[in-house]
Amino acid sequence: MAPAISRRGFIVGGTLVGGGLVLGFALRPWSNLPAARALVTANGGTLLTTWVKITPDNLVTVIVPHSEMGQGVHTALPMMLAEELDADWSLVRMEQAPADPAFANGGLARGYLRGDASIPALLAGPSDFAFRKIAEFMNLQITGGSLSVRATGVDGMRRTGAAARWMLIQAAAAEWGVPAVEITAEKSQLAHAPSGRSATYGELATHAADFDPPGELPLKPREAYTIVGTSKPRFDIPEKVVGQARYGVDVLLDGMLYAAVRSCPVFGGSPASFDTVAVANRRGVKKVVAIPGGVAVVADNWWRAKQAVDALEITWQEGDGAQHSSESIYAGMEQALDAGKLEQDYGFGDADQALRGAVQVVERSYRVPYLAHATMEPMSCTAYLKDGELQIWGGFQDGLGARSFAAKSAGLAFENVTLHHTAMGGGFGRRGSTLNFLEQAIAIAKQVDAPVNMLWSREEDMTHDNYRQASVARMKAGLDANGRAIAWLQEFTEKHDPEDATWIAYGIADRAARYVNGTDPIPFGPWRSVDNSHHGFFIESFVDELAYAAKRDPYEYRRELLANAPRHRLVLDAAASMSGWGTPLPKGRGRGISLKESFGTIVAQVAEVSIGDDGQARVERVFCAADPGEVVHPDGFTAQIEGGIIYGLTAALYGEITIENGRVVEKNFGDYPMVRLADAPKIEVRILPSGARTGGAGEPGTPPTVAALANAVFAATGVRIRSLPLRRHDLRAPVEAEERKLG
């Protein structure tokens, strides 16, 4: 299934000033590449292109168009290129691409959509959401959707590495006057055994640029990998353990000032008036300025700015948002579902008809609250506007999108905005498309004649996030005489993405999902795994309830429904086996199982919980099996799954953003607590690469976790958790004997 790729459309090569090869993977190379050259020449005196350069010193530098937020993409993508190039890994370097369209990862999608290139066979097909996501991310430098390795790596890095290798071999063949087939390439060295000649990649790189690679080059078979599939030490770690990584908050510029802000506690509100007299004479305070939704104090030290902004007397124009509360929002969601004007999410067969024919119908409702991202680094950004040129420093998941947003916000042309990437103190979706903090930083820059480093306090960060939506789900299933599910209907509020978040792998022919939007007045933002985060809870809690309704073991029950989903069943089996499923546990402990595919990776988890004297659940162990198709960096993948599980546990145990009078009640970690080391379970991860298309790593660990935990609580206590977080439930509460018996 070799992909058909139009020849010159994808790979473009060129020479570097001072010698060497640049090689890019681009659709419009004739317009893109010169722009890229000019940009990076100004920056470092050396030319780069979209993906890789090979210099006479025999270094291979891979240009990565995605942001590093600890997910390891700055290491994994170079590994994929170096593999096909047969580069010596110790001679491979990484640079992050500037926020410039020449480095946009959407080029792939644009090409496919415009017909510049055929869609590779492996991307075709209605069920491949990777492709649709690429299409959505056109012309953006998105780092999200667990896509970096899946799209940029698979479709860009590998092919570019193979093309560079081919060109180097042609150059060696021409210089030495020998057939190309007799030349070997290994560890950044070319050799011709019959004549005993050899050269480094660097020595032949300039000459290699003369050759035009064919459109289709074979990629290495998996068995031949020496780099991909190993766990190379991450490039970004050494500086992070000595305090040298520079985050948005750490920007330090000549003459720079610091800003602290206070935004209207009600969403959509703004300052009606504020009195600066009280703070104008405070030490270090330089200026008090109005900004969108709030007020900023600029000072020579952030603490001084923060003290002053807290002391400001501000009268707020709260606006219509003040009427909302969590309870009124939930009530509105229930009413919207009652009204029954739902849109179809997906539908196969006839779920309504099948429900009417069922022997037993099970109906349950679930709900989840709003969640904040709570990145460890609160929102921060440094901006400096001088002579019509805006410079921005900060951590962004989509550098190009941020630059474009900044240009609009400042009323400048795109070309007059420069974005300097810093390290990101956590992303999880927060630093992507939701840029209210950037808007404020730019408003400050417009009013202050100096670079200003704006940092939100934790309280501002928690109360002015863009939140994972609250959502209500009503689940209905029909069982046949044997208890097997034959009909499935999910109705829910607030669909965002990804589109397949509600999909189930279970073999239920008549199934449908329907939703209603417009019930959520609170700012939304993608939160690690987005809609999967709650659909994993709804779907997998409900399947668990069906198993008990059918008086079946929850693992066996799922397994039988996966007869035609062998990859899912293998993963489920592995998690069950790892956990010792079915073996006795001490009294008061329970195991819960859960399965959710998201972002192309299938993940099953078993959580083992105990219940403390305080009536709260303690997660003892989590066993996780995952099939990401192919894994590029096993240790990095494992780390992402471990982190995804902890993120899910924090949400399940503690996570709740409450709205009262249009305001967020929770202000800091004291009332929005986090799982800490002492609460963290032992986690075992087993990777089961099936060889299918590479799936994501950053997000798929999170969706199964909440249900695994809730199902384990039921097994341990007989208390069925249908709303989150768990800390709102007293697990010592008596439950009806009948239900308990089923556990």
């Binding site: 937020m69 600890g70 997910q71 390891g72 766990s231 030490p233 970004d236 770690i237 050494p238 992070k240 353990v241 000595v242 305090g243 040298q244 990584a245 985050y247 908050v249 750490d250 330090l252 610091y258 030490r283 020579d300 030290n301 952030w302 603490w303 001084r304 709570a374 990145t375 460890m376 680094e377 609160p378 390290a423 990101m424 103190g425 956590g426 992303g427 999880f428 940092l455 306090s457 934790r458 240790d635 990095g636 780390a639 992402q640 471990e642 982190g643 995804g644 902890i646 993120y647 800091n668 970690f669 004291g670 986090m674 799982v675 800490r676 080391l677 002492a678 963290a680 032992k682 986690i683």
Partner: protein, 149 residues
């Protein structure tokens, strides 16, 4: 007033209630120590004061006058710190890395006090938040550093 930061004697002219964190970051320009919550919950701001871990976001500068401060940049502080940092690399602990200076300083403080801590001692001493969820690796790295790895 004077404090010693990573072996350097620093003269400061700041308000006595300015937290040590902001003196370090915005007055001295040592930015490895991070702000996370401002209320001593998350520990991103952990530094050593006379070799004891403290949360610098709530520590008034007046309370550390004349004392010796070690931050994540104090690479030559001790063999213990070097071992902890090496173990952090060997176990590939950091993800985003923002909380890790605080995690590392808390771990150094623990190991200076307790050569070979038990899991329970680690649980009690390392209360720092890591939103990326690197806890399993933090625990393993502390054990490794304690054993000299």
């Amino acid at each position: 007033m004077q404090i010693t930061v990573n072996g350097n004697l620093i003269e400061l002219d700041v308000e006595p209630d300015m937290p040590l964190l902001w003196a370090l970051r915005d007055e001295i320009g040592v930015t490895g120590t991070k702000y996370g919550c401002g209320v001593a919950y998350c520990g991103a701001c952990t530094v050593l004061v006379d070799d004891k871990p403290v949360r610098s976001c709530v520590m008034p500068i007046s309370a550390v006058e004349g004392k010796t401060i070690t931050t994540i940049e104090g690479w030559n502080h001790s063999d213990t710190m070097a071992r902890v940092q090496a173990a952090w690399v060997a176990h590939q602990v950091p993800q985003c890395g923002y909380c890790q200076p605080g995690q590392i300083m808390a771990a150094v403080g623990l190991l200076l006090e307790t050569n070979d801590p038990t899991d329970a001692e680690i649980d009690a001493a390392i209360t720092n938040v890591c939103r990326c969820g690197t806890y399993t690796r933090i625990r393993a790295a502390i054990h490794a550093a304690a054993k000299g790895a």
